[in-house]
Symmetry: C2
Subunit: 282 residues, 2 copies
Amino acid sequence: MKPVNSEWFTEYCEEGGSAFSLQLKEKLHDETTPYQRIEIYATTHFGNLMVIDGFVMLTARDNFLYHEMMSHPALFTHPQPRRVTIIGGGDCGTLREVLKHPGIGHVVQVEIDERVTRLSEQYFPELCESNRDARVRFDFGDGIRRMKEAGAGSVDVIIVDSTDPIGPAKGLFTEDFYRDCYHALGSDGVLVQQSESPLLHYDSIIRPMHRAMRAAGFSDSISLQFPQPCYPSGWWTATLAGKKSVREFRSGDAGKKPFPTRYYNAAIHQGALAQPEFFLTG
Amino acid sequence: MKPVNSEWFTEYCEEGGSAFSLQLKEKLHDETTPYQRIEIYATTHFGNLMVIDGFVMLTARDNFLYHEMMSHPALFTHPQPRRVTIIGGGDCGTLREVLKHPGIGHVVQVEIDERVTRLSEQYFPELCESNRDARVRFDFGDGIRRMKEAGAGSVDVIIVDSTDPIGPAKGLFTEDFYRDCYHALGSDGVLVQQSESPLLHYDSIIRPMHRAMRAAGFSDSISLQFPQPCYPSGWWTATLAGKKSVREFRSGDAGKKPFPTRYYNAAIHQGALAQPEFFLTG
């Protein structure tokens, strides 16, 4: 029997034999869309919580870590990012961070489930404060298909802000998908994708992802690590792939970024590029 | 009602409104010493688990992160560490890492509860593999008193590898204790102490600790961040204090360290020194 209790939300991580729980004040919403079940809770200490198909998507308290690390490293790696596509990202937290960069000309967000965005507007308004920015186009559709149809060299940065590689997001972790992204990206193009836990998923997800990215044509790829308390193990990665090196970045620009962050800065970016010894020897 | 279940061990974090659980195979040991209750479990995915007074101390699977980050940054910050004192550290994982440094002349480990060490020898033998090293002296006593009695300038590096700042470890987080450490340290002396979670304890523990270290005479202090999945939030710190700067380290020596690690290397050390933006602005 698992420790289920209506006063706590618990996410079980089968591959870790672990679980993470947050104490609840109340359930705010519960809905099954054509794609997934979406639950929203108010927690006692982490603010609002969104759960999709039983997995924690985000909390108001700690999403800044994930959203900043999914956006700023990729954008400060590309020499001059203007055209951004976000695949997934329906909670709009990544979108908000992207739009902080003054050079951005337009962002297309391809989220398959419009309800994720509508519920975020209601329960995470702080993440959606830039949704009416004139540079944004919301495309509620299939990111895999959109990347297949995208024009060659039509995007500078692709951000894959998806759920875990099971269910609808499985196709986002394949060589075919990366090949379509490669084709859609310009010559300085950068792809970044959330890539799970170094402790729990290094062999099962992170290493195969690098192989698939290189096989798809990317000349470089590297996983950046960062803390993410509400995800299994509390330790997460964003993997960058580039047509050129993704180990250097515009550190001068990052050092004088004209917008506030709570975690990211140039030193944190450099630090996140550091590879744990077992990445190098394993 | 909390989600208690005999097939899982759950640690509740009151100040976080969160909980972390590990699935169990069996309970291996349960004992109440004059100081605390010590439980040992076999988990399904994290190897053996030691719990003290209900708090996770370590698991076989992820302790390498904590033990490497509690030892190597401090030792590569001191120019030539020979004399090391460990306060706490009864599981001997930090001790094992310290002894990997060839320059170390002797290590005194001051653990108040001998049973922690005896149980570690039994249930975490891999952490105790250096316990018979001739450079080690085990002193099962009170670390606060030992530091008060220590000779001036008699130690190069002090490692405070303690439980949380409640109960017997509370006195290890005070200006008085840091003053005694300062007195015991040589002119290049470095102190390192485990210092809880950046997300949960920045205002309550980390900032006051820096104030106390500086008030005790240390000219520099900085918190290094690292992942630690089995501790609350999965994100932890080790705080360095020095008579000189603790922001530079022997990176050349760290880069050609003559021993294996699983997490630590020179780039990880540099990366751990990066301060999250909210440390700088908060």
